[in-house]
Symmetry: C2
């Protein structure tokens, strides 16, 4: 594919470096990871770097789950914000990342109430509170949309990029950190760049990444040449526009991901239902014997499925997903998974030791990509991914809510679930049949917010069973969802709603009684439980 | 790209004919369009062919809007059904098509109450009534999903394909008719094939189609090599598996599409708002001066936009869309549109005369593709389509309902609007601010059904104005939607709902009061109008 000039004037200037960059054989010592002389002169403290921020700046930061986010700059910025706010001065910024980050980023800035607008995904309790209290505007975008919306100029100006890397070579090639997210776009689109060079991150990360610099804006976009999950097609380096770098912060700080919890009984049952289903699909000839690339959302149910696969009979597994989780490492170690593609690590403390200490080995089977590629709808559909994502609630007609509690409050955001679910070969949504000790039913007459429509969901699973909704009409779905998925206490209530809706005269395609459709939620808001 | 064998056992056996098929120079006379001797022996009447159907059969038929659907077989089948039903015998079938069809197909079979299950899109009043009365199960699937769901075995067995073509050569190559839809998949997956050879269709259709035979099932799917709207990459012929053909019906019947109505004032204002917006985007450097490939849903607002473009200043336009509408022909004739890709014609009677009479000329700028390509998410995102689709209602937070009236009754189905909206470069939804002489507000507190989520919609337009929701949080969207889009009578009601929801204490991300969220709809169901 020839390099074609960008026909569009966009808000940033993508650098289309397409030559094959050879992996450097240079060995840099942990104490000297900034090999460019000019950049060395820009080394400063996090506080000095934070002083470069202006009120209202939009800042693109690295970070995807607890991996590869800047550790010192956000804390220093939060300190500066606290002082400014105490002095009555305004100092707030927009924070754009890959997805959720660690407490030193989201937690610190939310505590300082220093974030005016946040995108695209978050899971920090302090951030969630700020959003639901109305202190922070939150823009919930499909992860695959973020980079291109920025590049097309739809998200306004990006004043600054703050990116963690493992090291920088003389020529501006940087060894990326443990997540990639939207780093390439932030670097290309930002006016000014701050790099955190984190010597805690292993130099063995070199060669693990595959950064695709071939994604021009329409009308000059070529097909992405990816046909296997583990394939490499880009550069192992982030190419840093050196003239935009205004500060380098040297850090030595660990990634912080949540420890993995042993799957509880419900998670194990859900995983069992899914594994049984996959075996059935193979038996019926609808799935190849080695399955298809797996995607799984973050969380313990997903890990339970992966651990189940480790004990199971499938071989030559692959993953095309967002994050490398604990369960995947087990599959790789056991030889059952041959390659895994993601945009970030999301490992518990023990697995961090295992993997970060043996990167040269794991590099053979793990590829980290930008999230414009890891979540690309065209690639996901082409590869035929089997997607498994959690849900907050589903309604009897198969609509899924992944983001909102009782219609108004945000939980974490849609993340990549929409990118995967709609384009997957098989799309699975899973959750226990009830939450909050039974006071909330996962299955409701009508979800209080729709993230995945009836047109997008195929397989729903609770610990009670599995509902295969493929090719069914709404009424056929409703019968199956109530029968297979609902908790015992809620099943009669749901059946009663459906039966009466059928007789309501409101229309027999998707029979609803709008005055009762959210009665479960209304009761919960009033009484603290959905049960009457 | 090498031909790779299908690793999957699927319910059908795709024929991967990849050699370049040269366009035949043979001239066939209108009266002799079946050039294969064996097939000529299978010529029979529509009634004889309809006798081959068994109760419960799933039949894949051609047809996309009023173009290229079988004209005599469904009418004959309906006759047989009427007789059977009168005799107390069951005879009902599943009908799968490309999208909506003509009265001789959907109308006739619905009148006979002979359709058990219907997919994926319909717009016939008799079909709609059957669905909403509970007589017909309707499965509303994204158009891009249909072919692959069938090929993967997700929709069960396909007993029969009934496909209209213009002619068949000796070697099994067929000149397709005026729509392609899912014809390739139906032919590949069906056990038995019936062809309607329609001599009303021009032989000049030869060479207009581009049928891509390179779409293997995962894990063997290669990138679709399409980078320009007008590009050709496949065969101009449907390759008919001759041994499966059980009947040939010779017909001479016209396509039947709805006549184009002069755009009313609201449509013209909506079109004006959109054109002004596109000019603004070009001015701001967010769109190229020749725009990007246009997609527009069927209907008069879309046509009004296209007529507006004919008067406007944009040149070198292209279309990557589902149907070739009247308005596009004007653009092509005036030289403003250089190429258009679709899966069907959808022209009024006058334009049918113009285009079908000059196909040799229009063939230079029009390509008809299968709907797995015309609606392919990866291709749509790569090309950067500007999508324009109608909506039934939108809520203040930007969720769009395209399919359901008052939550329960189906209108037409989602069609391709989801394929385009989520993957478009710019996604526009449009409708007048009210319907049914003001008794229905297009803008509501919460839509009664979600087809396009808050994560998928960018630009909403009514005759009142345009709301650009890109990069906005839910509350920011609500303010804009109420201000710019709502009708005068409903604006204070919507503002009041939003103001009180902000104070409700239910959460400030997407403030809702679930007990009132559907109050507009509930009032309409009770009183016949949404206004209090």
């Amino acid at each position: 594919m020839p390099l074609r000039a960008l026909a569009l004037k966009v808000s940033c200037n993508p650098i289309f470096i397409r030559e094959k960059v050879l992996m450097a054989s240079t060995t840099t010592t942990p104490n000297n990871r900034v090999l460019n002389a000019t950049l060395r002169q820009r080394i400063m403290s996090a506080d000095e770097a934070a002083a470069l921020v202006r009120n209202g700046d939009h800042i693109g930061m690295s970070g995807f789950t607890g991996s590869g986010y800047p550790k010192e700059f956000p804390v220093a910025l939060a300190r500066r914000m606290d002082k400014a706010h105490q002095a009555g001065d305004p100092l707030r910024v927009g924070v754009f990342t890959g997805a959720s980050t660690g407490p030193e980023l989201d937690g610190a800035l939310a505590a300082a109430n220093g974030v005016e607008v946040r995108l695209p995904y978050q899971s920090d309790p302090a951030v969630r509170k700020r959003i639901n209290d109305g202190d922070m505007e939150y823009v919930d975008i499909h992860l695959s949309h973020v980079a291109q919306y920025m590049e097309y100029g739809f998200l306004g100006k990006l004043n600054m990029a703050v990116i963690e890397v493992a090291a920088i070579y003389e020529d501006g090639r940087a060894i990326p950190s443990t997540s990639l997210g939207n780093n390439k776009s932030w670097l290309e689109c930002a006016d000014r760049i701050i790099l955190e060079v984190n010597s805690w991150q292993s130099m063995e990360l070199e060669g693990m990444h595959d950064i695709y610099y071939g994604m021009a804006a329409p009308p000059n976009r070529d097909p992405i040449p990816l046909t296997r999950a583990g394939q490499r097609m880009g550069s192992p380096y982030l190419h840093i526009p050196l003239d935009k770098v205004v500060a380098i912060i040297e850090t030595h700080s660990p990634d912080r991901n949540t420890a993995f919890k042993e799957p509880d009984r419900a998670s194990q049952q859900i995983a069992g239902n899914i594994l049984e289903f996959l075996e059935w699909e193979v038996k019926k000839g609808r799935l190849p014997v080695d399955l298809l690339p797996l995607q799984s959302g973050v969380g313990n149910i997903a890990n339970a499925v992966l651990f189940g696969l480790e004990q199971g009979k499938f071989h030559n597994l692959t993953a095309y997903t967002e994050v490398i989780q604990d369960g995947m490492i087990g599959l790789i170690k056991s030889g059952k998974m041959v390659s895994a593609s993601a945009t970030a690590f999301s490992l518990g403390p023990e697995m961090i030791k295992e993997v970060y200490g043996n990167l040269a080995n794991y590099r053979k089977s793990i590829v980290l990509r930008g999230q414009d590629i890891s979540n690309n709808p065209g690639v996901i559909r082409r590869l035929g991914v089997i997607s498994m994502n959690g849900m907050l609630e589903a309604d009897i007609y198969g609509n899924v809510n992944s983001t909102h509690v009782m219609g108004s409050k945000i939980m974490n955001g849609i993340g990549g679930s929409g990118d995967f679910a709609r384009n997957a070969y098989l799309s699975i949504f899973m959750a226990p049949s009830n939450a909050a000790k039974g006071s909330i039913s996962t299955i409701v007459p009508m979800v209080s917010h729709v993230d995945h429509t009836e047109h997008d969901t195929q397989i729903l699973v609770t610990e009670k069973g599995l509902a295969d909704l493929r090719g069914l009409s709404p009424k056929q779905r409703a019968r199956l969802v109530i029968e297979k998925l609902a908790g015992d206490d809620y099943k009669p209530l749901l059946q009663d709603y459906f039966d009466r809706a059928l007789k309501s005269g409101n229309g027999m395609h998707t029979p609803h009684m709008l005055n009762e459709a959210h009665s479960f939620h209304e009761r919960y808001i009033k009484t603290g439980k959905m049960l009457a």
